[in-house]
Symmetry: C2
Subunit: 199 residues, 2 copies
């Protein structure tokens, strides 16, 4: 009897990693249904005049982010190591995620990619990383190749466009209807709001 | 028997307003001593290539900020209205704040400026706003004029330089020794850290 929450995540985003690892448990406790939607930030950052992560463009902000992540991961008992490169190209990974999310193993696949990248130092732009994550959750590795399908590309583009339409400018973000919440720091508020909505 | 927390605030910053209105009560509950330091972000933003607030430069981020503030102020029972202009020129107000903070009424003066600006629509760049705030807390209005003293200007410059040295890139920020926390969202964590340090 609650509203739905859409969880917009960028697979190369550190703070999206934080939310991905806790959103389902928190949503279940709040009685809220969650929809996972990958949203590569490249095009959105590009429209703001950025050609890479703001953490790379603004060094003080970047230094702070790594320390902040280190503290938050320690507090939450999550493994964390700075991946190289950062940020990673997440476009194809997001297409594979869209396909995976049509199966019951989709969320586990996304979490496996976050762990590979932010705990294991793997590059999610590499086919081997995607294949290992698919294999780990029992999905067929040919989903990597299949995700290059034009229809899948169009689906991801539509996902990005929908996010931009909702005013999204960073990740993770959460939407409940038209209401936008930005950042892992707003996850609890977003769930409270969703829980208070009619189904 | 706890460490000290330095609260770095920008008088024209919406999220600094949120922290200013709660930091002392939260710090008292945590047994932590707070040092208030004004830090005009103009020079720090300038070093990042910005000539105004990022909320003005990036419209989607700006639209979100106003909605986020509206929600947070409602949840905390704080009055809030978008001031015009925004952002305001806070340089002279910060110099007056430095002088005011040498008196017992300093924090009340800063809070009065936030309320005038973010609840009353006043412009803190105007002498009348500064004088009204001083008068309201029982401080002499000639502190406005006196704050133009070169020594006071140098003191504010030193304050900004110290903030930049600590890696500060936005406001509010909190430091405990070399440990930096950015944003009203990190106030509780910063206080927890301070409370765990030796005096």
């Amino acid at each position: 009897m609650a509203g739905k929450l859409t969880f917009w995540f960028e697979l190369a985003s550190t703070y999206s990693y934080l939310s991905a690892m806790r959103v389902d448990a928190m949503a279940e406790a709040a009685g809220v249904q969650v929809i996972w939607r990958p949203v590569p930030l490249g095009p959105i950052f590009g429209s703001q005049g950025w050609d890479t992560s703001p953490f790379t463009i603004y060094p003080a902000k970047g230094r702070y982010m790594w320390r902040d992540m280190e503290r938050l991961c320690t507090a939450r008992g999550l493994p964390f190591a700075k991946p190289d490169p950062f940020p990673q190209n997440s476009i194809h990974a997001a297409r594979v995620a869209l396909a995976a999310l049509e199966t019951p193993q989709g969320r586990a696949f996304c979490k496996a990619l976050y762990t590979a990248q932010f705990a294991g130092g793997a590059n999610i732009a590499e086919r081997a990383t995607l294949e290992a994550a698919l294999r780990g959750v029992g999905l067929p590795v040919d989903m990597v190749e299949a995700a290059a399908d034009p229809a899948r590309k169009a689906e991801l583009k539509a996902c990005s466009d929908a996010a931009a339409e909702l005013g999204l400018f960073g990740a993770p973000s959460f939407t409940v209807g038209d209401e936008l919440y930005w950042g892992d720091d707003r996850l609890a508020e977003a769930l409270d709001f969703a829980a208070a909505q009619p189904a």
